[in-house]
């Protein structure tokens, strides 16, 4: 399994798209962080040097997570898109192992990507001289939760890619979900399910406070459930399909 995960990491390292996605994620986060810093002193924004400002800043980097989740999709769909799936399976005929390695790789990429975004956000904040890192329990939970949630998103992305297969459609699912579906849920009076949506769960483990937020342990269990069900569906599809 370690050799397979290493192979997947090598594939990513030698794919230009990987660096494109990471660059795009960084860029989006930089813009968001600059917006937070730029609004300092305006009505409703936390005072410079406050704990709340640090939280806002670190939270702002989370938009880039969406792009990292899309990188998770590409880990799988790229193989179908370029028809490299055939040579991958010739080398490792056990499809379940190949996909498990991809899911693990996706989660690793999520952790690395989220860490990169946090470092960028914290770096910009510190460089501005208006932000202090406290690293108290609240901020540590935000960081730990962010890393975990991103790992989960990229895993989901890879699982979605396995189920859907079409790179174009699969790539559209994470942004459509996060930016459209989850924002529409309150509008349709479905607030009660909000804590159990991917966004709500990610918020729960990162210490977000909102109505009906799930306890961390429950959120983690439900996240695992979502991931395992989607992965199982994807693996089932891959096991049954003929590679022609």
């Amino acid at each position: 399994m370690i050799a397979l995960v290493r192979t997947e990491l090598l594939k990513l390292y030698w794919t230009r798209a990987t660096w494109g996605f990471l660059a795009a994620a960084t860029l989006i986060s930089v813009v968001r962080v600059e917006l937070v810093l730029g609004s300092l002193g305006k009505v409703g924004s936390p005072p410079p040097g406050s704990r709340q400002l640090t939280l806002d800043l670190l939270g702002a980097s989370s938009v880039g997570v969406l792009v990292i989740a899309m990188l998770g999709v590409v880990i799988v769909t790229r193989e179908f898109h370029h028809a490299t799936w055939t040579s991958t399976l010739l080398g490792t005929p056990d499809r379940r192992r190949v996909l498990t390695a991809k899911f693990v790789t996706a989660a690793l990429v999520g952790v690395i990507g989220a860490a990169l975004l946090f470092v960028v956000a914290a770096g910009l904040g510190l460089a501005s001289g208006k932000v202090q890192l406290y690293l108290d329990a609240r901020q540590l939970q935000l960081i730990a939760g962010g890393l975990l949630a991103t790992a989960w998103w990229t895993w989901l992305g890879a699982a979605i890619g396995t189920v859907v297969r079409s790179q174009t459609i699969a790539l559209l699912i994470p942004p459509l979900w996060m930016l459209v579906v989850e924002t529409l849920i309150p509008a349709y009076g479905l607030d009660r399910i909000l804590p159990w949506t991917p966004g709500g769960l990610a918020g729960a483990i990162s210490g977000a406070k909102f109505a009906g937020v799930a306890p961390v342990w429950a959120a983690v269990l439900v996240m695992l459930g979502y991931g395992l069900v989607l992965s199982a569906l994807g693996v089932r599809r891959a096991m049954r399909s003929d590679v022609c």
Binding site: T84, T86, V243
Partner: protein
């Protein structure tokens, strides 16, 4: 146990039967041509052998095992398949390193195989800039990584220029002479199968015939074509002696399954004039065309 053994293999895609109760063996140390018109089921058979397609019934085994059960398949079988793609932005060397890694093949072997297929100069170039022929060579390099005893190639001459085809033919010959087993499919018999030791011919997913090339050619026997101004008389003489003969044109007779000596003696006994007499040996291509005649050319 034959290195490759197909037994009762059937594959249906919905209402279409691509492979229909197919059985054949491929012997060690031979090049076996896997022949049939387009859409005959060659690719489906090979992909089933390689664990990519699930058979509806029957088995296709490598050294008596399912491909999926092979511990490190690259060390047993190398495959060159059509429509197996490349990540275009990746270099040839990195493409091979990714194939080598999961099978525990050392990185230095990558340069060896690039050398073997004469691609060393292009090792650091992105595959997107490769010609079809170069891609085929790279695919072959990937197949050779584990130095496998068995090679399976699906239409490997597609995209190769005549020099490339010649090179591939010699390359496969060398592998087979060294004890390797080669199964190579083609819809163009002339290109590769001329160097084959044995052939398996399929049509509409069914086995038409299999055997050594020598065996296949023999039973058809030779014909003797005779040009003579007395074609009618010669035709009568030959048929009266029990030979199969026909008038192919007003001054030509073709006698089937006879030796030139027999025709010559008949001509002399009847006192006929002959301008020309020549033996026509059927070749594999004629047999292939005859056996697969009438097949719809799908795909």
């Amino acid at each position: 146990m034959a290195p490759i053994s197909v037994r009762g293999l059937t594959k249906r895609f919905g209402p279409i039967t691509a492979v229909d109760d197919l059985s054949f063996d491929v012997q060690q140390g031979t090049i076996t041509g896997f022949l049939g018109p387009n859409g005959a089921g060659k690719t489906t058979t090979l992909r089933t052998l390689l664990g990519l397609v699930h058979p509806t019934a029957g088995t296709a085994l490598i050294d008596g095992m399912l491909y999926a059960r092979l511990e490190r398949p690259a060390l047993s079988v190398g495959a060159v398949l059509e429509a197996a793609g490349f990540q275009p932005g990746r270099t040839a060397r990195n493409h091979l390193r990714i194939l080598a890694h999961p099978n525990g093949i050392p990185t230095r072997r990558v340069d060896d195989v690039l050398d073997e297929v004469e691609l060393s100069d292009a090792a650091g170039r992105r595959v997107s800039g490769f010609s079809l022929g170069m891609r085929q060579r790279l695919m072959l390099a990937g197949a050779l990584l584990g130095d496998p005893g068995i090679l399976v190639l699906d239409e490997p001459t597609n995209g190769l220029d005549p020099a490339g085809v010649h090179w591939l033919r010699q390359f496969l010959r060398t592998r087979a002479d060294a004890g390797g087993t080669v199964l190579v499919s083609s819809h163009l018999l002339a290109e590769l199968a001329v160097s084959a030791d044995a052939v398996v011919i399929i049509k509409n997913g069914r086995l038409v015939t299999e055997g050594s090339v020598a065996e296949l050619v023999r039973p058809v026997g030779a014909s003797v074509r005779v040009r003579t101004p007395q074609a009618d008389q010669l035709h009568q003489v030959l048929t009266s002696q029990g030979f199969r003969a026909e008038l192919s044109s007003p001054d030509e007779v073709v006698a089937r399954d006879v030796a030139t000596r027999q025709v010559g003696e008949a001509v002399a006994a009847a006192g006929l004039v002959v301008y020309e007499m020549k033996v026509e040996q059927p070749n594999l291509e004629d047999i292939f065309l005859e056996l697969t005649a009438g097949a719809k050319s799908a795909s």
